[in-house]
């Protein structure tokens, strides 16, 4: 069922009780968790925080921690699965689900109070209750009163009705579940909760801004929707005091990841949103980049310097230079209004940079996942020296460089293979990049890069090696920047059923699966046959 009043029905019920907080490994979930943690600290709510990577993690975490806990809050996980069925909880445990993964499972929507969805998304076309669940017992009773031929007629009539209803149900469910997509960022919902509870401060606003930026940087929502999602955030931004403390603003900024921590040339060669169009993997790519810099009016030596040591005049005219030079090379304009954090005695911090830093911390090469998660939470702090953020930014730079190298090598060695209606590429085991793109977030970044380079009209599948002879398979829809609705979730499930391969459908995002490397080609063949 849906929670109508977020403050009274959700937050006030949690006051004074122990809460189990289960959070998924992604940027939006980290931001939401930070906002919720600050709220819980203010009101002395005891909580247990467990980060989960997939559905099996969710199950183990619930089983280990569910003694004497009556309230469970799930952030960005559990919305798309039937919770009561999978977790088998006690009768009086209440689940609050704040998940931006859609489509929400029907059993969660029509649960009678045990599973409560904190946010109602109007864009989902949830089928009506009567179209899906049908009560057949009453009708059979009515039949016993009729006699003989009438009874036979009534039974035939009913069977026909039932068949028609089942067919309708089947089509409805198929239409509802075939695409997997994302709804409003959970951090925006959490921010609204903070505002209603009057605990709105710069830290909560910054976490909300980073969550919104994540959805637009990772292309989880169409760009128009992203602007609409950021609407409550903009309302709160106007209400904050712009004095000499940390505050968040919306300003036009270059959409180049990490450019303030890198050099201009470095940032330009690693921006997945428009660098692939420069075709740096081709031999003429480097000269194209130099031509772009020349058009912008930046001397090569300055562009190669760290941003902070660059000439101040050049720094000031970076935005206008980008805007004039990009159309000449038929590139999309890389500046757009984004969120920046202004702190006294500190250079401004872009939300986009924070997104990449958190991504790198969650999927770090050497840090274990739980440690990375805690570091990511502290990287969102607004006061003080932000050490975890700096660690995250260095890791993000390495990962972006690895993604670029991977894309270049795949494209130049023709590693992008054709299979039926889609393209696919495989990351070879043992390359230096294999360690860095092991997780779904960075592998997705690599897939998006390759899709932009080949003008993304076909869906792309990416595969990366995992330890123990398994590999990760990720599907990206065609034209991902306009239409992020992903059909690979349902497609993977069906292909797995048909080919009988032991696929692990563990990830909350259904377009990512794990399967044994030896059976990968078989699976791809089955998929080709399915989608042809």
């Amino acid at each position: 069922m849906f929670v109508e009043d977020i403050k009274n029905d959700f937050y006030n019920t949690l006051l004074g009780n122990r809460v189990l907080l289960l959070v998924h490994y992604d940027v939006d979930a980290v931001c939401t968790c930070k906002i919720l943690q600050d709220l819980f600290k203010c009101d002395n709510i005891l909580y247990t925080l467990v980060p989960v990577g997939g559905i099996s993690d969710l199950k183990t975490a619930y089983e280990e921690n569910n003694e004497e806990i009556k309230f469970v809050v799930l952030v960005n996980c559990g919305g798309t699965i039937d919770l009561v069925d999978i977790l088998q909880p006690d009768e009086d445990v209440i689940f609050f689900v704040l998940d931006s993964h859609k489509p929400t499972d029907i059993c969660n929507v029509y649960s009678d109070g045990q599973v409560r969805l904190v946010y109602k998304d109007d864009e989902e076309n949830i089928p009506n209750f009567d179209d899906i669940f049908r009560d057949d017992e009453d009708e059979e009773e009515a039949d016993e009163n009729l006699q003989g031929a009438d009874r036979l007629e009534a039974m035939v009539e009913r069977r026909r009705d039932r068949k028609a209803w089942e067919e309708r149900r089947h089509t409805l469910m198929f239409n509802y579940t075939q695409f997997s997509y994302y709804g409003k960022p959970s951090s925006c919902v959490a921010l609204e909760l903070a505002v209603r509870a009057s605990r709105n401060n710069a830290a909560a606003l910054w976490a909300g801004a980073v969550g919104c930026a994540a959805h637009s940087a990772l292309y989880l929502r169409p760009p128009a929707q992203c602007l609409l999602d950021a609407e409550p955030l903009n309302r709160c931004l106007n209400a904050q005091s712009h004095s000499t403390t940390a505050h968040v603003v919306v300003e036009k900024d270059a959409w180049l990841p990490l450019y303030r921590w890198w050099s201009v040339e470095g940032a330009l060669s690693h921006a997945s949103f428009f660098t692939p169009k420069l075709k740096l993997h081709a031999s003429s790519g480097a000269s194209r980049l130099r031509q772009l810099l020349a058009d912008m009016g930046f001397p090569l030596q300055q562009a190669r310097q760290a941003y902070r040591s660059m000439d101040v005049e050049l720094r000031r005219c970076l935005l206008s230079a980008l805007e004039t030079a990009a159309p000449k090379h038929k590139l999309p304009i890389p500046t757009r209004p984004t969120f920046l954090l202004h702190k006294p005695h500190s250079p401004p911090m872009a939300a986009l940079d924070a997104v990449y830093a958190i991504m790198a911390l969650i999927e770090h090469e050497t840090l274990p996942k739980a440690v990375g998660f805690q570091k990511a939470l502290s990287a969102l702090q607004v006061n003080g020296e932000n050490e975890p953020l700096k660690v995250g930014i260095t890791a993000a730079r390495r990962s972006l460089e690895a993604v670029a190298r991977l894309a270049h090598s795949t494209l130049s060695s023709r590693g992008l293979l054709l299979a039926g209606p889609f393209n696919y590429f495989i990351v070879q085991e043992g390359t230096s990049e294999a360690g860095l793109v092991r997780g779904p977030l960075w592998l997705g970044e690599a897939a998006r890069w390759i899709a932009t380079a080949t003008s993304g009209a076909r869906p792309i599948l990416a595969s990366a090696p995992l330890p123990d002879g398994q590999c990760l398979l990720l599907g990206l829809p065609p034209r991902y920047d306009q239409e992020p609705r992903n059909l690979f979730g349902a497609a993977f499930e069906q292909a797995a059923q048909k080919s009988g391969i032991s696929v692990v459908l563990d990830y909350v995002d259904t377009s990512v699966i794990v399967l044994p490397t030896s059976q990968r080609t078989q699976f791809l063949d089955a998929l080709t046959a399915l989608l042809a």
Binding site: K41, C42, D43, N44, S198, A202, S243, T244, T245, P344
Partner: protein, 196 residues
């Protein structure tokens, strides 16, 4: 003594807050405070104010001395005078750090105040260092410094007694060896004392 201990002592000072909740009187070990009425200012210890502020349950009112003009005057005084001037508060550093850290949005011009207080601290510390230097050079017998706060005294605490000990040891050594040089005899007694 650690700086934390001085912070602990300094936290006991009374500041003014405006709570946003209502509650009865509370009876603490150090005294009773309250009743809390939302929107009405009241006096509480600094540690209680910072704790409430972190839970977003109050607003801290800036102390009287924490204003740009006031602090600018103090800074000018400090620069001009050769000796130390009286600080507005015995624990100005502790109060400034805690209030500006937890409640910087309640203080107008917080970042300028931070800079000015840091400047005052730097001026006083450099004066302290030169006066320590002069004390040691003059033989380390007597020095008088007025209007020093606890935190500043604590920063030279590890250095001063150790330096004076060394000075005394050197003086003792030189007193022992000077009679031996006056004695021109070649007795083994003086020889051994010279060798030690």
């Amino acid at each position: 003594m650690d700086p934390y201990e001085i912070e602990f002592i300094g936290e006991n000072r009374i500041v003014s807050i405006i709570p946003n909740f209502s509650y009865d009187k509370i009876y603490l070990i150090c005294g009773e405070f309250g009743p809390f009425r939302a929107g009405l200012p009241m006096n509480v210890p600094l540690w209680l104010a910072v704790m409430l502020k972190q839970k977003q349950k109050c607003r801290i009112v800036a102390p009287d001395w924490m204003e740009v003009d006031n602090l600018e005057n103090i800074k000018e005084e400090e620069k001009r005078s050769r000796f130390f001037t009286k600080m507005p508060n015995e624990h100005y550093m502790v109060e400034a750090k805690l209030i500006l850290g937890a409640a910087s949005e309640d203080i107008p011009n917080a970042s300028e105040i931070k800079t000015i207080i840091k400047d005052i601290w730097d001026i006083r510390m450099s004066k302290l260092r030169t006066s320590m230097d002069a004390l040691m050079k003059s033989g380390g017998s007597y020095g008088r410094l007025d209007h020093l706060t606890m935190m500043e005294i604590n920063s030279v605490k590890p250095l001063l007694p150790a330096a004076m000990d060394e000075l005394l040891r050197i003086q003792m050594m030189s007193k022992k060896t000077t009679p031996a040089t006056l004695n021109s005899s070649t007795f083994s007694q003086s020889g051994t004392s010279q060798n030690t």
